[in-house]
């Protein structure tokens, strides 16, 4: 997911009896489906966990611009170029909405950015994989956005108001992203021999990294249990991963492509597909900054930030000059 392995607080979820009255009222409000707003009282752990989660989600959108941005200047038609540019632009917008949501919790965008650039905060593992052919633009839209949507749709009901509202806006805008990806995949899968080969290759490379997006099984995780009690996490990782596989396998069949999993098969009894787990060692390596493109991504973000410093400072200095001129004229 765009937010992976979010640590929560405490060693276990408190029972109502263990909570003080303020905390109990807070939890009851969440249990009743109420929203928590910026000025409401909230446990410090709730606030800090949300900053980590929303911040990581925002960082993922921003770093996520890079693998697709990699193909904007090589898009094969004017229409494809416009669509891809609009999509990557939307990701910048989504990052912006999410940073703003995090800012309501008392952290600034610049602070979050510094933590991303120093490597203290993470972003989704998926964006550390390279995009090598035009079919990858299809696969990223179809699989990566498809996986993201699985998580983002339920998050529209998350307990924190500003986060829920950002997710509503994001989900509305995202709805075209997955479809544009599948549209590219259809063209490629039904195209020339080379195009079909690119489509299959893209699925081969993005299948397991997409499954990793949901994070390792968290059925026994205290963090996960606490985050679900707070409704800042709505489903377990396994639930979402299964849903993703069940939805995606028929789509791959429709495209005439083969999911790279010899053990993939429909389980009549469960009513779900059985599938192979991704390589979790690889996942932890990638999350730790050892993904195929991790160094490149961080370098690109750091360069953009450093190169832009004089612009941010210049416009601010001008705004201050204008203000003092206006005061002087009064």
């Amino acid at each position: 997911m765009y937010a992976q392995m979010i640590r929560s607080t405490g060693s276990k979820v408190k029972t109502p009896e263990e909570m003080d009255p303020q905390e109990r009222a807070f939890q009851e409000r969440i249990d009743a489906g109420g929203k928590i707003e910026p000025r409401d009282w909230m446990p410090e752990g709730y606030r800090r966990t949300l900053i980590r989660q929303i911040g990581q989600h925002a960082h993922s959108e921003i770093v996520g611009q890079l693998p697709e941005g990699n193909w904007i200047t090589r898009a094969p038609t004017l229409e494809r170029k416009a669509i891809l540019l609009a999509k990557v632009q939307d990701e910048a917008g989504h990052g912006l909405y999410l940073y703003c949501a995090a800012e309501t919790l008392g952290v600034s965008r610049d602070e979050l950015t510094r933590d991303l650039l120093s490597g203290k905060m993470k972003y989704s593992s998926i964006f550390n994989y390279p995009t090598l052919t035009w079919a990858d633009m299809g696969a990223v839209g179809w699989l990566v956005d498809g996986a993201a949507i699985m998580n983002q749709v339920p998050l529209q009901r998350t307990s924190y108001g500003p986060y829920a509202r950002a997710m509503v806006r994001i989900c509305k805008e995202e709805s075209f992203h997955q479809r544009q990806g599948f549209d590219i995949m259809m063209k490629m899968a039904n195209g020339t021999k080379e195009q079909r080969a690119m489509a299959q290759d893209a699925l081969d490379r993005f299948w397991y990294p997409s499954l990793m997006m949901f994070g390792p099984s968290d059925e026994n995780s205290v963090h996960s249990a606490q985050n679900m009690a707070w409704k800042i996490k709505m489903n377990t990782n396994d639930e979402l991963r299964q849903k993703f596989v069940d939805q995606t396998v028929p789509q791959a069949e429709f495209l005439g492509l083969t999911v790279p999993d010899a053990d993939l098969k429909w389980n009549e009894e469960r009513g779900h597909y059985d599938f192979s787990e991704p390589d979790w060692d690889e996942f932890f390596e990638v999350l730790a900054g050892n993904g195929p493109c991790s160094a490149d991504r961080m370098e690109a973000r750091n360069k953009a930030w450093d190169d832009g410093a004089w612009v941010r400072e210049g416009l601010l200095a001008h705004a201050e000059k204008k203000k003092s001129r206006a005061v002087a004229a009064e």
């Binding site: 965008r109 510094r114 789509q251 416009l315």
Partner: protein, 94 residues
């Protein structure tokens, strides 16, 4: 960091004659910049005809509202909308 641009709240009036509505926030060096940024960030899908911005720290608040933003389709960027892509029914939900 001291030199972070201030945060602005953005209010947009749509084409249906409703009042300005809070749609989100952004950063800008000054009010003029905030209006232009709001135009670029929050009206990409033709959502509005009038923009108000106010620096976030100038707002006195009781409790924030709870309603999600409202969208209007853009006229000439149809590809932003899922209906632009003709996905066969056999492909399943998307």
């Amino acid at each position: 960091m001291q030199n972070e641009w201030p945060l602005w709240e953005v209010f947009i009036r749509g084409q249906h004659g409703l009042s300005h509505r809070h749609v989100g926030s952004l950063h800008a060096a000054d009010a003029e910049g905030a209006i232009k940024n709001a135009r670029d960030v929050y009206t990409r899908r033709n959502e509005g005809v009038s923009i108000w911005v106010v620096e976030a720290r100038q707002i006195a608040a009781s409790s924030p509202g709870d309603k999600g933003p409202f969208y209007e389709p853009a006229n000439d960027k149809v590809y932003r909308h899922p209906g632009f892509f003709d996905i066969p029914d056999d492909a399943g939900a998307m």
